[in-house]
Amino acid sequence: MSVPKLAVWKLASCDGCQLTLLDCEDELLSVAAKVEIAYFLEASSFKGRGPYDLSLIEGSVTTEEDLHRVQHIRRVSKHVVTIGACATAGGIQALRNFADVREFISVVYARPDYIATLEHSTPVSAHVAVDFELRGCPIDKRQLLEVLSAFLAGRRPVIPEESVCVECKERGNPCVMVAHGTPCLGPVTQAGCGALCPAFNRGCFGCFGPLRSANAATLAGLPGVTRTFSDFQEAR
């Protein structure tokens, strides 16, 4: 059997999720032994030719060029996995979806006329079929290795759809909401980070996106939660 070819692509994003692959450090040699890292510009300027067995896509679609690139990536890839909140849900740049992007551009850039961008920031799955979406901002290293192992073994990745609370309790954190009165998005957020923030007595701020069964309206009605976010609005 030939060695599977891996490609890592970047659209509109901060590079943090790709970096998670390089952050694997101890496991990186194992990954490199099992796959041919054919295309990964953050690690090497070498551009191995497709087709690829597995493509990891970071970033959201925000330009005409991105639209063409995701079509190309899909064509040259057997499996496509999006990594991170941008590729999976549109990312922070999807704030434009609720406002006028031209207004943003006029405020941010000295020469707005240099900027060519789409009105909306969209997830990869809005344009092409995606085989698996890995959540997180950034993604979690353990989960990335699990997804790679699963695709290599031809099995479904074990990425539980449960709340951050489940990981919090597993880790033995006290609930920061109940015990300290700290607003926390954990009950409506999908697990994956290992309950990192609550482990340091901070509230979760939702890096892994909404739980599939999230009851956000109820959480927003609890004391303190909405206040935190409206204070943020007013400060802005």
């Binding site: 496991e27 073994a153 489940v166 006290p174």
Partner: protein, 356 residues
């Protein structure tokens, strides 16, 4: 034990902790950590939460300093479950052949369990007793119970008939008494009696026994406003299957699963298979799961109990109705953890009353 010797008085806990450590146990007991009472390994009684008490209500837990009691608080977020039924256990490994994992069951003395915790262990024994790993972890425990003097505003052990006095299932039981501060100690097993006999102790007087009875009487009275009639609840919950109350509860429920995970009797797990990238090794892990997660009832890619109402109904019905069909007793011991640690403050006792 054939003959119940008279309880004796202990002036301090340190000799007990030392004796247990010398006896080869890691001693685990309550301590204050991150604003809550947690179980942790103790090397001396100085690490105990002396002078701390808690205020609990649905969705809220706060510690404050008050009084001089070592055990002056109610149920903590931890229960014995973490030690008998840990969050994550390796069931099986494969590395060029099957490898049986060793059962991790270090001899552990748990100090400070309440009657509700002992009742929960008895429930777990019936549910999980078929597992060799559970039996090994359970057999490795030395249990030091404390008669509950300070139930919280969410406690309802008197309604479930499990407390507040520790009646059975312990090696040693203590009643903490004030003015002067002392512990009335009684043994519940041969090894408990042996340890107790070797500790510095004094004979108890009738006044000590009367003071201990007072502790239980006062604790019972504190739970009186919350008392409910257990008779008929099994049938009434089963009959409420199509009640609109479930939907109303679901509108407040976050489906976060906190209630089930803090519950000392909830035992559900999922099994995850993992493969290693490097060498083809594989591992099968059992980890805590909950009837509130989507994956729990997933069949053919979709959950059978998709709605929050269906999931809450499943949980409450199991605790008070179908658990009785399965195991001949209730799945609830009245510790109130699910009430306090629900971020939305859903009170199971109130919901039960609405469903009846």
């Amino acid at each position: 034990m054939d003959k119940q010797p008279n309880p004796v008085l202990l002036d301090a806990l340190d000799p007990l902790i030392t004796a247990l450590r010398i006896g080869g146990f890691r001693v685990v007991g309550p301590t204050v950590r991150d604003g809550v009472i947690r179980f942790a390994e103790l090397s001396s009684a100085a690490e105990s939460p002396t002078g701390w008490t808690d205020a609990q209500e649905p969705g809220r837990y706060r510690l404050r300093q008050e009084g001089e009691l070592v055990f002056g608080y109610a149920a903590s977020p931890d229960s014995a479950k973490r030690y008998t039924h840990p969050p994550r256990t390796t069931l099986f490994r494969w590395d060029k052949g099957p490898i049986e994992p060793e059962i991790d069951a270090p001899p552990t003395a748990l100090i400070g369990l309440r009657a509700c915790d002992l009742a929960a262990l008895a429930v777990q024994d019936r549910v999980l007793g078929g597992s060799a790993a559970y039996r090994a972890r359970r057999a490795a425990l030395f249990l030091v119970a404390v008669d509950c003097a300070t139930p919280s505003a969410v406690c309802f052990c008197t309604s479930m008939g499990t407390g507040p006095k520790a009646e059975a299932g312990f090696d040693l039981a203590l009643t903490e008494l004030s003015e002067p501060h002392r512990f009335l100690a009684r043994a519940g097993s041969e090894r408990g009696a042996e340890i107790l006999a070797a500790l510095p102790h004094r004979a108890s007087a009738p006044a000590d026994l009367a003071a201990a009875a007072d502790v239980t009487r006062t604790a019972t009275a504190r739970m009186e406003p919350r008392r409910f009639e257990l008779d008929g609840v099994k049938e009434q919950v089963a009959a409420a299957r199509t009640s609109p109350v479930w939907e109303e509860i679901a509108s407040r429920c976050l489906t976060c699963a906190n209630c089930t995970i803090v519950c000392p009797t909830c035992f559900c797990t999922t099994v995850e298979d993992g493969t290693d990238l490097s060498d083809g090794a594989a591992e099968r892990v059992e980890r805590w799961d909950s009837c509130f997660t989507f994956g729990f009832t997933e069949l053919g890619g979709e959950p059978v109990r998709a709605s929050g109402a269906a999931r809450y109904r499943q949980w409450l019905s199991h605790k008070f109705s179908t658990w009785v069909d399965q195991f001949g007793e209730y799945g609830c011991v009245g510790c109130g953890r699910c009430v306090t640690w629900c971020p939305a403050g859903i009170d199971l006792v109130e919901e039960l009353e609405r469903l009846r």
